[in-house]
Symmetry: C2
Subunit: 317 residues, 2 copies
């Protein structure tokens, strides 16, 4: 009999098809596990597959008395209470770096689309306004990439890939992170100093309690009227209400957002704005990164059921 894995978050079938070949999946489809499966079924679950952002606290862990492994699909694990897991001897795994290029590339896509006003441009052509030479103040030339100051918040694998790409666009790159690294980019000791300096803030920091709402009204104000913010980390890093206000009153020029506070829900007032480009948390959604992340999940689950340490374990803070 195949080993059982409870699927705790909602995943498209195509994403978890490979796991079904190796394990018996108890798929909640994102519904509360106790409403989908009996206490008996939950009681036999030893391994759990989750999206790192899904809340998974002590109470949730109580549902699975035999739980030995929590495996996150993707690099994030901000929803998992690592302390509670450690106290119960539950191993926690993820897919470090497997999606870094894919996420960095959606960050670049959002930045370029936002600063060059691509959505407005596309609509200008499609609507026929271009053909009739209808003036559009939104189509005025904007600052380009050469010489633009790009601030990268967080210098992990994703931040480094964003920085390398921006440098190829002849932009100046600065960064803020807890540590200063041996990298050819200007280091700023605080997020405030980085925001004062840059015109585009790229949020690539690992999310968690310490980064909750750190990009707030003050930081947005420092970016200024020509400033942009791009978030491909987690919605929790930005104070979404402050961002909405800053976008409406033109405190900043625009934003590119792949992540939101309460996914998949986005405020109507936000999605009505023409100076924002949206994507539905697809940073990691390329074929290669899906395969790479799935490989990490399979390796973690296989090792666990063989009684071995997880090869891609989350390093406790």
């Amino acid at each position: 009999m195949a080993d059982k894995v409870l699927v705790y978050s909602r995943f498209p079938k195509s994403m978890i098809a490979r796991f079904a070949e190796r394990f018996e999946l108890l798929d909640t489809r994102g519904q509360p596990a106790q409403e989908v499966f009996s206490a008996d079924e939950l009681g036999s679950v030893r391994a759990l597959l989750t999206a790192g952002g899904s809340p998974l606290d002590t109470d949730a862990m109580d549902l699975f008395p035999k739980l030995g492994a929590i495996v996150c699909y993707g690099t994030g694990h901000d929803g998992v209470d690592l302390g509670a897991a450690a106290a119960r001897n539950i191993a926690v795994g993820h897919s470090p770096g497997a999606n870094a290029a894919s996420v960095a590339d959606i960050a670049m896509t959002l930045m370029l689309a936002t600063t060059r006003r691509l959505m407005v441009a596309d609509q200008y052509v499609r609507s026929g306004d271009w053909a009739t030479s209808k003036p559009s103040p939104m189509m005025r030339p904007q600052a380009g990439m050469p010489g633009r100051r790009i601030g990268v918040y967080g210098m992990g694998e994703i931040g480094r890939k964003i920085a390398a790409r921006c440098a190829a666009f002849e932009s100046e790159v600065g960064y803020f992170s807890r540590s200063k690294y041996d990298l050819p980019y200007q280091y700023f000791p605080t997020l405030e100093a980085l925001a004062d300096w840059c015109s585009v803030l790229m949020i690539a920091v690992r999310a968690g309690a310490a980064t909750q709402h750190v990009v707030n009204a003050d930081i947005l104000g420092r970016l200024g009227a020509d400033g942009y913010v791009v978030n491909i980390s987690r919605g929790s890093v930005i104070d979404q209400k402050a961002l909405l206000a800053a976008l409406i009153d033109k405190t900043i020029a625009g934003a590119g957002l792949d992540v939101f506070e309460k996914e998949p829900h986005t405020p109507d007032a936000l999605t009505a704005l023409s100076n924002v480009v949206f994507s539905p948390h697809i940073g990691g959604h390329t074929l290669e990164s899906q395969v790479a992340m799935q490989n990490c999940v399979l390796a973690n689950l296989t090792a666990f059921f063989e009684g071995k340490p997880l090869p891609y374990a989350v390093k406790s803070a």
Copy 2:
């Protein structure tokens, strides 16, 4: 009295405001010059400012018997009959390289937006379909940039900047151009061979009679069902009817287009497609590149009226 310059193409006022400070502009606003100004007025015109793509042949030159300089705003000069100009001793100037980064960046923007299906993604969030978990086959993961084969057609200043940017995205870069250069990219001796090899064809070749419709049904077929074409050169390089057919019948996966055969007109059947991203010929429209191009125009016009050779003269083929 200020020197007179006839403005032959239609330019937004903001683009030519700096020229009006130095010269007396006779602005046709893109209308036929002989309908806007008297034969007497045209007869006194010695210098002409044009968009390089606007047709300017022998008959047009006949309108200006005293014409001594044709100055193109931008790098292109494909509309100007260089042989006819040379036969009349008319100097032809342009703005070489001034917009190369800006154009390369719109190429990257269009490529990323097209291959990551950004317009569909943005609409998926805005429409509320994401919030209600409505399945969207268009949102399936696509191939990303690492390892992707990007074919650059034309290795001038714009092509080189596109290639350098693609390399930073961890893509493989190949190119076809008349000459093989000492560059770290694979050279292909024919456009056919490049199209067979690559999945994204970036058209960065200088347009002219020799490149008319060279990207035809055969080349598009070689790109294949996972292939994309991005054009930031001139619409004339692509057989637009063949492109439309290839996009509709899925011979290729998609396209990103900044230029079109008969600008500003685009076929309704083309602008209705969801697998194309459009921009209204804004490749050179960044603040820096506008200033750089204007500097070239001013230097060319000033030199001409001082009886000196144009500093940014078009090199005859």
